[in-house]
């Protein structure tokens, strides 16, 4: 089965950033995204998602390496300093390259 390698960018951050991240992703060339509600803890302390300001999301974007890098850099530059943001990149393989 022929597979094609892509990057998976995962951004875990405050729910307040959802709208902004979705726009950024589209602008920077991502064909889609997947979001799930999460809770957790990091340097910013625990975020249990019990109410508005305490909610976190995990945003997944599968895309070309360059798009992923641009998006990751943009996210850190724009939100990294003042928001609770964690992100990582992963190498994945997809079957329908045209989709991503």
């Amino acid at each position: 089965m022929q597979t094609h390698s892509r990057k998976l960018l995962v951004v875990i951050c405050e729910a307040a950033l959802e709208r902004a991240l979705v726009d950024d992703a589209r602008l920077l060339g991502a064909a889609g995204y997947t979001i799930s509600d999460v809770r957790g803890s990091g340097r910013g302390g625990p975020r249990e998602g019990m109410w508005e300001a305490d909610r976190s999301i995990e945003v997944k974007v599968i895309c070309e390496a360059d798009v992923a890098e641009r998006l990751a850099a943009h996210v850190l530059a724009t939100y990294g300093t003042h928001y609770a943001v964690t992100l990582y990149l992963d190498d994945v393989s997809v079957l329908r390259p045209e989709k991503f």
Binding site: E14, M50, W51, E52, A53, T81, Y83
Partner: protein, 310 residues
């Protein structure tokens, strides 16, 4: 003592005791949506009865109050508290705005004592949410107004959940009137107090979780959270008197002025002034001022409203 505030204590206690009691987030959202809609509906039904002119005058005064309240707060936070501009501006916005639940507790408090109040007060809650947020952003961005993502902010504050539901409820209530509401009265009016009790349980769990923030925030912010509500309540009383509100209405406007937002303001400031540390504003608003108001403030403001005459 009013049972509903005991639910708040139960929540705080459970949280501090590290109980695994946790209301599902969907329940929290549902209760919030319900309260906002119900408050709006109730106010709207009455709004229809009041002559427009009177309301217009009162509304203008309330909006003006909302726009100005952050200024003294900001001065105190910068001058005495030596807080960074962004933090001072953000906290000022929270305190200039209003806490819907504090308002609801106050109305329950008045109802229990059969004290009349202008039933269209919920309109003022809706009107008070936004102005202070705008002022707060301006205070944070003096010299760099351009940098503000106004469209995003406007969207947040004008189309935020609470404003939409409050104004939506007010409009529906005003359109259908008392007997139009009748068939849904059981849910939105009669069940209100019980739902409010549940919400206060949730608020207690949340507030109990912010205590750590307060330790970080330090004594100044604690004092701020106790004293500023009194100052603001005073302002509220004066404004209420000027526009000729009843004693009950005066106590409610004082409560609104004294209360600090933890729904509309946090979301908006997070987007407009991200460098402000949300733990400070939310910690003070939820950990100090909210409990202070429901236990000490509301009875006090009513007493003042009934005694201070001009």
């Amino acid at each position: 003592m009013d049972p509903i505030v005991l639910f708040f204590l139960l929540g705080v206690g459970a949280k501090l005791a590290k109980s695994d009691l946790r209301l599902p987030e969907a329940l929290y959202e549902t209760l919030a949506i319900f309260l906002l809609l119900a408050i709006g509906l109730k106010g709207g039904v009455e709004l229809a009865k009041v002559p427009f002119a009177d309301v217009a005058v009162q509304a203008t005064a309330v909006v003006a109050m909302g726009l100005l309240l952050p200024l003294p707060a900001f001065a105190i936070l910068r001058g005495l508290g030596r807080l960074p501009r962004a933090d001072a501006a953000s906290i000022a916005a929270h305190y200039g705005s209003v806490s819907v639940v504090t308002f609801a507790v106050a109305t329950a408090f008045l109802t229990k004592r059969d004290i009349a109040y202008e039933a269209h007060m919920p309109l003022f809650v809706a009107l008070l949410e936004t102005p202070a947020i705008v002022t707060g952003i301006l205070l944070a961005r003096i010299g760099a107004i351009g940098a503000v993502r106004w469209r995003a902010v406007a969207h947040e504050v004008l189309l935020g959940r609470s404003v939409v539901l409050l104004l939506g409820g007010l409009t529906i209530g005003a359109l259908v009137g008392a007997e139009g509401i009748a068939p849904i009265k059981l849910l939105f009016v009669d069940l209100f107090k019980g739902v409010l009790a549940l919400f206060l349980l949730e608020m207690g769990l949340v507030a109990g979780g912010r205590v750590a923030d307060l330790r970080r925030a330090g004594p100044f912010l604690v004092a701020f959270g106790l004293i500023v509500p009194l100052l603001f309540a005073g302002v509220g009383i004066v404004v209420a008197r000027l526009v000729g509100l009843s004693d009950g209405g005066t106590a409610l406007l004082a409560t609104m002025a004294a209360s600090a937002s933890y729904i509309a303001a946090p979301t908006a400031m997070r987007i407009a002034v991200p460098e402000a540390n949300p733990a400070l504003s939310i910690g003070a608003a939820l950990g100090i001022t909210f409990p202070f108001n429901i236990f000490v403030g509301i009875p006090l403001y009513l007493h003042l409203a009934q005694t201070l005459r001009f």
